[in-house]
Amino acid sequence: MKLLTVEDSAIVRKIIRRAGEALDMEVLEAENGQQGYDQVAALDGKLDLILLDWNMPGMSGLELLQRIKQDERYKHIPVMMVTTERHPEQIIQAIQAGAAHYMMKPFTIDELNKKILECLGRGKQYEFRNKLQSD
């Protein structure tokens, strides 16, 4: 499975890479919206999940989300916003634009893993695995 993180912070990209790889995902990186769009196009939309920061130089995460969701070729890809922006209006704006999930920074690795799996429709599997480990 392929995950694309579009994020201008190299440190946050690294954290997301670690989380994705721990879930056996191939993690691709882009450091701004335009690079992210170019990667989506280069892969012809063959991605399982995109994690998007909001504030980035050039094309913002919201603009990229809107471009992806307005494109018949790419709109099937689930997108999760991962951002410090947390105004309810912004969350609504992202959800209305087609975001599947909205995660605020800071976050724990556990939260990140859980939300990635929820976006992939594997959230219950994650809860079950955690329960087994804690029992």
């Binding site: 912070s9 190299a10 440190i11 690294k14 954290i15 410090t84 922006e85 800071p106 724990t108």
Partner: protein
Amino acid sequence: MNSETSYNPIEENWTKFTRALDNMLLMMSGLELTMEETSPADWPEEDMCFGGLMVLASMRPSVLVIEATHETAANIISYMTGDEASQLSAAELLDGMCEMVNMVAGEAKSHVLDSADGFDLTSPIAVRGEQLGFTIKTGAISKRLYAVQEGVHLRMSYYPL
């Protein structure tokens, strides 16, 4: 007591920043710090060589600054990423300082949304050097926090402009 006159927005915001710093460190790196508010005169001599700062835009703008020694910046980002502290580059430490101040300001912002104390985030700025010191000559109160844990020496300052 008149609650209108006892309300101090600087103190209120400062509390939100300190809680946000505490929460950010705990969530992103698992670090629980002992924090002390001290006057700058009482700060121990330490080489704060990485700084992250952000101008908080509002009708009453302010500046939030987080400073760290090289060891502290490396340790925190090492805990965040899982990388060996010694393997982290200066560019990664600068990036991490930006992200820390961004997350602290972002969380604090969420507690003052749509209020008179609300502010907008701006692009975080990171600086690197030796014996960093920030002075903002507004005559306004600056609040500083000193956090200590083994290998982690961090300072946060808040300057209403």
